[in-house]
């Protein structure tokens, strides 16, 4: 069974992401300390919250170093919402310095008609990354955020979404995966994307389209 470290740094909805991953067959461990990351296959970094306070909490728990070290050792990283943004170097929100695993910054969505960007919006997969296997262009996913990643290297962008301006709604580079939307809150399509992420972590091909766990979920 795949072992996932669900990073608990004091804010955010851990219940629904943990529940969704368990439903898909993963062994999910809530982790607060660096030593708890030993031997896990992947780190799942959720996030509701602001960058500055989030980084401050990660620093307080020693996770600002332990997370990048685990990734260097070969663990996968799955970032959700703020967890995607943390992959990059710095944020214009609070001027926070982030984990810096990928080059680039985090900034407000350009030309947004309204912020925060709250609600269901379409995913437009870029290329053919396995994270988005089975996801048709225009598939709605649930977003709740104002800031987005602006990668230096656009090659890591695997899906885009338009809210006024166009932004990276999913990124993938080596063993690092990030989604700006909430797959655990995006119905059956969201669960499919989580199942795809688990398949990548386990070194399998994309999730079976008929996997019963999410076939029954609206």
């Amino acid at each position: 069974m795949t072992t996932l470290a669900l990073i608990d740094y004091g804010a955010g909805n851990l219940v629904s992401i943990g529940q969704a991953l368990e439903l898909l067959g993963a062994d999910v461990r809530l982790c607060r300390r660096p030593d708890e990351l030993a031997g896990v296959d992947a780190l799942v970094v959720p996030g509701v919250g602001a960058s500055g306070p989030a980084m401050a909490r990660l620093r307080r728990q020693g996770l600002h170093r332990a997370i990048p070290e685990a990734v260097v050792r070969g663990a996968w990283y799955l970032g959700i919402c703020l967890g995607l943004q943390l992959l990059f170097e710095r944020s214009e929100e609070d001027g926070a310095r982030m984990l810096g695993l990928l080059p680039g910054k985090v900034a407000l969505i350009p030309d947004a008609p309204k912020l925060p960007h709250i609600g269901w919006n379409g995913l437009e997969p870029v290329g053919q990354h396995a994270l988005l296997a089975g996801i048709a262009s225009g598939t709605p996913a649930y977003f709740v955020h104002s800031y987005v990643a602006v990668p230096d290297d656009e090659g890591c962008v695997v899906a885009e979404t338009v809210h006024g301006g166009r932004f990276a709604s999913a990124v993938a580079q080596d063993r690092m995966l990030g989604v700006q939307f909430h797959p655990e809150r995006s119905g059956a399509d969201g669960l499919r994307i989580l199942a795809n992420a688990l398949a990548l972590i386990e070194g399998r091909a994309a999730a079976e389209p008929s996997a019963p766990a999410f076939a029954a979920v609206p």
Partner: protein, 257 residues
């Protein structure tokens, strides 16, 4: 393109879903997680739980309800009612809510909005405003404590202030229309949506799919919320979405079950 949301609201008292007219005459309508799962399957885009148990002893019950619902549905949950502090907000988020609504406590201490936005990000801070037409018809005033107390505060001015303090979304309820199924107060909606730049959820008065379309097209709302028409199967979520799509409103369509 950002889709417009259809949101069933579950008023929760002592762990059960209830609905009354103008916050009184409450009738038991079911188990919250059960109803949540039913609405998610029917195509709801989000769910709002409002705890209308006034007394403090109901808090633990609410957190349990939120946690059970969060484990059963894979659509967003917004939870409000009785949230008085940043630490209350933290408990509700940790129980599984995606967004938290503050109402009375924010009117009493507006800095609560700023503190919650700084700590959790403004995107999960919803300010819930209950508004009632002023006796002289000159506008709307904010009422609190579940519609029981007048504040004399101008609802449109309060909406603007709440956004400046860090509200990421407004849940705007017309107390005059709540539970009446006579349609949303479109003038109130327009007055607020024309002066704020955050999403506004229209609430209070939904009686038909056409009312929902009017709230979005004429009122400028980003989402429409209703309780009794869904709880009593007067209209289905699918029917509301079909009417919205027919009116040219972009919605998330779910294949018929």
């Amino acid at each position: 393109m950002l889709l417009r949301r259809v949101i069933p609201c579950l008023d929760v008292a002592n762990g059960r879903v209830v609905k009354g007219t103008r916050f009184v005459d409450l009738v038991d309508e079911g188990d919250p997680p059960e109803l949540a799962a039913r609405y998610a399957a029917a195509g709801a885009d989000e769910l709002v739980f409002l705890d209308i148990t006034a007394a403090a002893q109901g808090r633990a019950t609410l957190l349990d309800v939120v946690e059970r619902a969060a484990r059963r549905v894979f659509i967003p949950l917004t939870v409000g009612g009785g949230v008085r502090s940043a630490s209350d907000m933290k408990s509700v988020l940790r129980a599984g809510a995606d967004k938290v609504a503050v109402n009375t406590a924010a009117v009493q201490d507006p800095t609560l909005i700023r503190r919650c936005a700084r700590r959790f990000g403004r995107q999960c801070v919803v300010v819930s405003i209950d508004a009632r037409v002023m006796p002289d018809g000159s506008g709307w005033e904010v009422v609190v404590r579940g519609g029981r107390d007048s504040t004399g505060l101008d609802a449109v001015a309060w909406a603007q202030a709440a956004v400046e303090l860090g509200a990421g979304e407004l849940l705007l309820t017309s107390i005059d229309r709540d539970g009446t199924r006579q349609g949303f107060d479109l003038s109130l909606l327009r007055a607020v949506t024309s002066v704020v730049d955050v999403p506004v959820i229209a609430s209070g008065g939904a009686g038909s799919p056409e009312d929902m379309a009017a709230a979005i097209v004429e009122g400028g709302a980003d989402a429409v919320l209703a309780a009794s028409i869904f709880h009593r199967d007067i209209h289905s979520i699918a029917a509301v979405k079909a009417a919205l799509a027919a009116a040219g409103v972009p919605v998330r369509l779910i294949a018929a079950a």
